[in-house]
């Protein structure tokens, strides 16, 4: 897939994302400044992590109003793929492209550590190179990753199979300790209906090379390379 990475002021994970995408696809992704409005020719748009607009007002609130967001909506309407990571997840919920919101971590602390994610389904382009229910390690670094949605929305997400990843123990069990930010139903990532839009809080792009300490995140990017 031809990929582009959206860059807002205050975003700082775009280069990690570029390395991960290029590592799997062999193609350099295009960097898209937030004022650009031509996204033609791209199959996949990635909204990376960081602190867009200094997290002012709410994480992702300002970026969700930027000019490029209208183009991202059009890209999604055309059937294009879209992925958000960390601040990207916050931005996509603020923009209404995914339901729910990311609240302050339940323990109030910024969490910078590894977590383990369970692949809830593997029949999507994002998770197709993982096994179903596979557990993989991913670094996380966020202060507002506590996924929240009302019960009706959570029931709909589960009923339609839109939960992408959950926080689990290395053995794959859902426990309070494994779900450190307090996310509703242990949700770490979700899909939009159609499975072409996905976002998650942890950073699979930061574990794609033995030099980084592991390659647990690489299957996700291998899936997107096809």
């Amino acid at each position: 897939m031809k990929a582009g990475i959206v860059v807002f002021p205050g975003i700082n994970r775009e280069r990690d994302m570029a390395i991960a995408l290029e590592g799997s696809s062999g193609r350099k992704p295009r960097m898209i400044w937030h004022r650009e409005t031509d996204l033609s020719g791209l199959d996949l748009i990635v909204v990376p992590g960081g602190f867009s607009y200094g997290d002012y007002l709410r994480c992702g609130a300002m970026a969700a109003q930027s000019p490029v967001m209208a183009e991202i909506r059009a890209h999604v309407a055309r059937g294009g793929y879209l992925m958000g990571v960390c601040n990207g997840f916050q931005i996509l919920t603020e923009a209404g492209l995914l339901p729910g919101a990311l609240l302050r971590n339940a323990g109030l602390r910024f969490l910078s550590m590894d977590c383990h994610l369970r692949v809830e389904r593997n029949d999507t382009v994002f998770a197709g190179k993982y096994a179903a229910k596979q557990v993989f390690r991913a670094p996380m670094a966020h202060g507002d990753g506590n996924y929240f949605a009302d019960d009706a929305t959570l029931d709909r997400l589960e009923g339609e199979g839109l939960v992408a990843f959950r926080y689990v123990t290395p053995e794959g069990d859902m426990t309070a300790e494994a779900n450190r930010n307090g996310s509703a139903r242990g949700i770490a990532g979700i899909y939009a209906p159609g499975f072409r839009v996905m976002a998650l809080m942890p950073h699979p792009e930061d574990l794609v090379d033995p030099l980084m300490g592991g390659t647990d995140g690489k299957p996700l990017f291998d899936g997107l390379a096809a």
């Binding site: 302050r104 929240f148 949605a149 009302d150």
Partner: protein, 79 residues
């Protein structure tokens, strides 16, 4: 005129910041403190003289940007 927008987390949405403030107040010798909720206040200077219109516009701003209606509610006062 000025519009004051108060944004609070909806009841039922966990407010860990309010909880931490409550615990700190207990530690400082204020045992009478029950539940604490923390929110934010946004003051807007508006180039507008009609209070009803000012309130309606500020409410629109709150719905579009200042509050996230998934998790927050808001109140607008015009002065």
């Amino acid at each position: 005129m000025k519009a004051i927008v108060t944004v609070m987390l909806k009841s039922g949405v966990l407010d860990p910041q309010g909880k931490a403030i409550g615990q700190a107040l207990h530690g400082l010798g204020f045992p009478e403190v029950g539940e604490v909720r923390a929110g934010k206040v946004i003051e807007l200077e508006l180039n507008e003289t009609d209070p009803a219109r000012a309130k309606a516009r500020a409410e629109e701003m709150a719905r579009k940007l200042l509050a996230n209606m998934v998790i927050e509610s808001f109140r607008v006062e015009v002065a």
